[in-house]
């Protein structure tokens, strides 16, 4: 099957800044894919290259087999992009704007039913006749997503879709995007909320300084650092010197220790007993994507 996205040896320089340094990435149709990385890692640059807003210095990118440079007419039809910034056209209301956007892709009035569906799906029905200028930030975000979907693109790219969005709307957006994915759309997103990537995405690429430093299924990534966190409430509340190297953090009376495997637990408890420290409370927590992220992005300098 043709991959939804294929990126080969892509480099992008802005003057002296080598923003992307040889990216190779293939995303299958129907995947829910996350692109993670700290600010400035090159996530948005990569998305803008896919969207044709930027041109690669070298390398090729394609959407469902259509090269974004040589066959942009088709690659752009197949791609829906939600930009990161809340940009909008101040002259028109939501429905007008969506109709125009669909029109640019060659759709006429026959597409109005789909536009209504998108408007309803994103909870914009009440705002359909409101000027874009008058929308709140959250509503603008919804309108942006609607705008990326008017031409029914099989591949949808969302650049930080939940940045600056309140919890309720975030949940609603994720439900909507999950539904799109179930209906067969390939979803690619960048996010800062790692727990979202963890619960939603089947595969993750981590970017750092223009390179992919990890690319695997979410599950494998989580297993790659099979660490566990041990949260302890101690009486007296102090940690023996011998356990200091394991300490990850201290908050509200709890010491958090990082363990590589559960078997270490016994040794820790023995140390505590020897030091005459009593364990008042204990929790063992699985590592999450954030830990993996910190491990990979933080430590491989």
């Amino acid at each position: 099957m043709i991959p939804a996205i294929k990126i080969e040896q892509v480099h992008k320089s802005f003057g002296a800044l080598h923003a992307l340094q040889g990216i190779d990435l293939s995303i299958a149709q129907g995947e829910f894919f996350a692109l993670l990385g700290p600010n400035g890692a090159g996530k948005s640059t990569l998305i803008n290259l896919l969207a044709g807003l930027l041109r690669p210095t070298s390398g090729t990118l394609s959407v469902l087999g259509h090269d974004v440079m040589t066959d942009s007419r088709n690659s752009r039809r197949l791609l829906g992009v939600v930009p990161q910034e809340l940009v909008f056209d101040p002259f028109f209301n939501v429905r007008e704007m969506l109709r125009f956007q669909a029109g640019y892709f060659g759709f006429g009035r026959e597409n109005d039913a789909w536009i209504d569906e998108v408007i309803e799906g994103l909870g914009l029905t009440d705002k359909a006749h409101t000027n874009m200028r008058a929308l709140s930030g959250g509503m603008k975000r919804r309108a942006l997503i609607a705008q990326a979907l008017v031409h029914k693109p099989p591949v949808v790219v969302l650049d930080e879709p939940t940045a600056g969005v309140d919890v309720e709307l975030r949940q609603m957006l994720w439900e909507f995007i999950k539904k799109l994915n179930r209906e067969g759309h390939t979803i690619i997103l960048t996010t800062h909320y790692l727990e979202e990537a963890e619960t939603l995405c089947s595969r993750v690429a981590m970017l750092k300084q223009g390179k992919i430093v990890a690319l695997d299924s979410t599950e494998n990534l989580l297993n790659r650092y099979p660490g566990k966190h041990l949260r302890l409430k101690l009486e007296p509340s102090r940690l023996p010197e011998s356990l200091r190297p394991l300490l990850r953090g201290e908050e509200s009376g709890f010491h958090t220790l990082a363990l590589n495997e559960a078997a270490q637990l016994e040794g820790v408890l023995a140390e505590l007993r020897n030091a005459g420290i009593r364990v008042e409370d204990l929790q063992l927590i699985e590592a999450d994507l954030e830990d993996v992220f910190v491990q990979i992005v933080g430590n491989r300098a």
């Binding site: 969207a51 044709g52 807003l53 041109r55 125009f100 029109g103």
Partner: protein, 251 residues
Amino acid sequence: MTGVYTLFKKEILRFWKVSFQTVLAPVITALLYLLIFSHVLEKHVQVYPGVSYTAFLIPGLVMMSLLQNAFANSSSSLIQSKVMGNIVFLLLTPLSYWELFIAFLAASIIRGLVVGGCVYVVALFYVDLPMAHPLAILAFALLGSAMLGALGIVAGIWADKFDQLAAFQNFIIMPLSFLSGVFYSIHSLPPFWQKVSHLNPFFYMIDGFRYGFFGQADISPTISLTVVAISFLALSWLTLRMLKNGYKLRG
């Protein structure tokens, strides 16, 4: 064709929704020029035999309004969407560079014709205006607004900020239109300045346009039409090249 037509329609609606500022305001400005200049000069200046100064002035004002507004339409739309950031919604679409060109250009022509037409209609209340060669009027109106529409695309793409666009308007469009013979015949100028005027493409647009009304002009209308057509083609070539290369639009 749906794509081009949609963008064209959007560009028309964009100025029509604020027509107070995009149509009425320039018409009022042109009428002020008409009132003041005709009041001051009507008794003192006669350019063509049998043609009053007010009558002489009107085609110039119509053309000047048409040119300035054709320029304003494409340039302000582009700079605004660049500054606001919503230009991405166009760049994400499969619209090709020539489709963008045609849509922006056609909307500019319409804006130019609407404003120029309004100035003309209102001016008819002041003075009787002959119409010797309607086809010439139409040809120069179309070519003039098309040329300035293309120039507006160039300026809108080139400028990164509103003040750069204002500079383009104040240092290029305004001097070229004021020094083109809107208010005078270039035959009244010293020989050196007559020669300089011949380098100004706006001069040919206004002279040819005026020929359409009075059947007389400073130079041959064929030459004017040729110069204007070549200028338009050259500018279109430049505009298409910029759009194709993604100059300042796609990094």
